[in-house]
Symmetry: C2
Subunit: 332 residues, 2 copies
Amino acid sequence: MTIYEVAQRVGVSIATVSRALRSSGEVAGETRRRVLEVVEELQFRPSRLGQSLAEGRHAANGIVFPDLSGPYYAEVILGYEEVAAELGSSVLILATHGRTDPGRKVLDLARRVDGMAIMGRTVSDGVVAQVAATGMPTVLLARPPVGELDTVTTDSDASARELIAHLLAHGYRRFAYLGDPDESSDVTARYDAFRAALVDRGVRPPRAPMRCAFDVPAGQEAALRALAGSPRPQALVCANDEVALGALAAAEQLGLSVPEDVAIVGWDDVMAARYAGLTTVRQPMRELGATAARWLQDRVANSHLPVRREVLRTQLVIRTSCGQHPIEMEVP
Amino acid sequence: MTIYEVAQRVGVSIATVSRALRSSGEVAGETRRRVLEVVEELQFRPSRLGQSLAEGRHAANGIVFPDLSGPYYAEVILGYEEVAAELGSSVLILATHGRTDPGRKVLDLARRVDGMAIMGRTVSDGVVAQVAATGMPTVLLARPPVGELDTVTTDSDASARELIAHLLAHGYRRFAYLGDPDESSDVTARYDAFRAALVDRGVRPPRAPMRCAFDVPAGQEAALRALAGSPRPQALVCANDEVALGALAAAEQLGLSVPEDVAIVGWDDVMAARYAGLTTVRQPMRELGATAARWLQDRVANSHLPVRREVLRTQLVIRTSCGQHPIEMEVP
DNA sequence: GAGTCCACTGTAAGCGCTTCCGGTAGGTGT
DNA sequence: ACACCTACCGGAAGCGCTTACAGTGGACTC
């Protein structure tokens, strides 16, 4: 079922069929009608491959992310897909987590899209540079800039500063940080911002982070270690909400009450955070994805736009886990 | 940068370059070496479009789902992507929620993939049939079967039966159901199973479901309506966890305690459910996606396999919201 | 009534690859 | 020394579309 059969059936050339179908060029009304009639009858749909090859574009964008397990990435991807679809692009996804040779997978993906968004520390700077070097329009998401690439991140600095100010106001002075800053680039920024905020206020930051993976059990385990320290930290600042939720479990396990015995705060404001009463930093995840999709589209259309950088605002969400406050029963 | 340039540079034909690159056909070791050397030097990557056109396959699969907002779909997609990538396929995603003319979007997607998974009530049976009629290998997910298509679902019946048995054991007899069974096909199954389970046990099911969208605010609003009924229902069975979380908020708003004044149960076991103490039904979401990807691959490889149907097992997770039980502090 | 235009349509050249088929050269057997 | 393989390679035909360019015929003008 190709354009040839349609053309033959109608008794015109394939050029005319193509024109009738895409309303490009001049086609007599009657001819168009006949073509569309046969198209309908044969249920003909032009091959995307043929089109793409001829047009020299895929009409598709890719997004690379570490994982989809937390709610965080899902939201970003949804924002991305929404805008991309609106702009007429299909979306290809690639999760790198746990894959062997993610760099190769990314390069592979690059062969099937017009542009791609790369999120977090999914692949090395080298791979990013390699992708960009092919002329592929690329936007970086929640990741430090590489070269002259568009980059959109969220504001770890401001939120960390605000978070710390709040915790200091509660009177806490001994902090621990849970999470591995080397594992994820946005988390690196969070950790750095956390330290900087403490130093700014004249408080000595913890010697080192309590490294752990970004899930609940790892957070729990790390919190157990942290809480075993002497003197016990007064506040656990966690790299993300999953880790913080693990920390809550750890506190309960140790018979410590939150926030009386220890304060715990997270980052991201995932849905569970609300029900756990977790103080956290809300990230504009949807907007992150949407921005990436929009920028990508712009850059695909016009490759020599000036480089864009944007830092999206975050919001401190105060619940009960950081100290005596009324439960916030907000409706999302 | 095409295969022609590589061929010219090496001084061989494009056929030889192609063969060297894909290790098909016979190429002298020395020739292959020279080809690969130039390929490396020029950083040549064959055009995926050219390849696909020549091979007659996309090496990509698509997945259609309603939304990505809840944790439920994200998990399914992750399971799907993981297996698909392993099998060498790229993954295209399409969220239909809130889109105009999802049918068209699905048909569009169908032009760029070798097979597709369609989830829930994203598009009408007609569109599904239309896709299938093109010969596109298709797998249905959490959705009633259409024609002779492979279908994988989760076991609403068994879980509903178990859930109802448990609630009856608590002594509840007046139930309300929250959620719109017409909105999502897996939820239709849940509602039907819920009613059937009650009838089986000789209890009269509610006249009608308390219809609402599948998010927290809608659940809250619906629960307010349900709890205003007289006599007040003793147990609210919710279409999914988000609705149930909303119901918890509603109970709190009305000054009712859970489970003393009213029991509330959900469906899916999203992360927040654990922290809300919500009794719910755990769904094997990851496995759902993975199964779809695997079946699709099989069917792409061999189009006349027998039709496959599978119902994945679910698991009742009892926490506190349904009645007096110790809090389950399971580690995922 | 010849020349001009215009509206429409067809021809054909790509787009970048895979692969069938046939050709060549060197090696082997007798 | 001749036929015959075998290993390797190139030519060329697709795959299904878009679009620049070149007609072609009828309506219109002077």
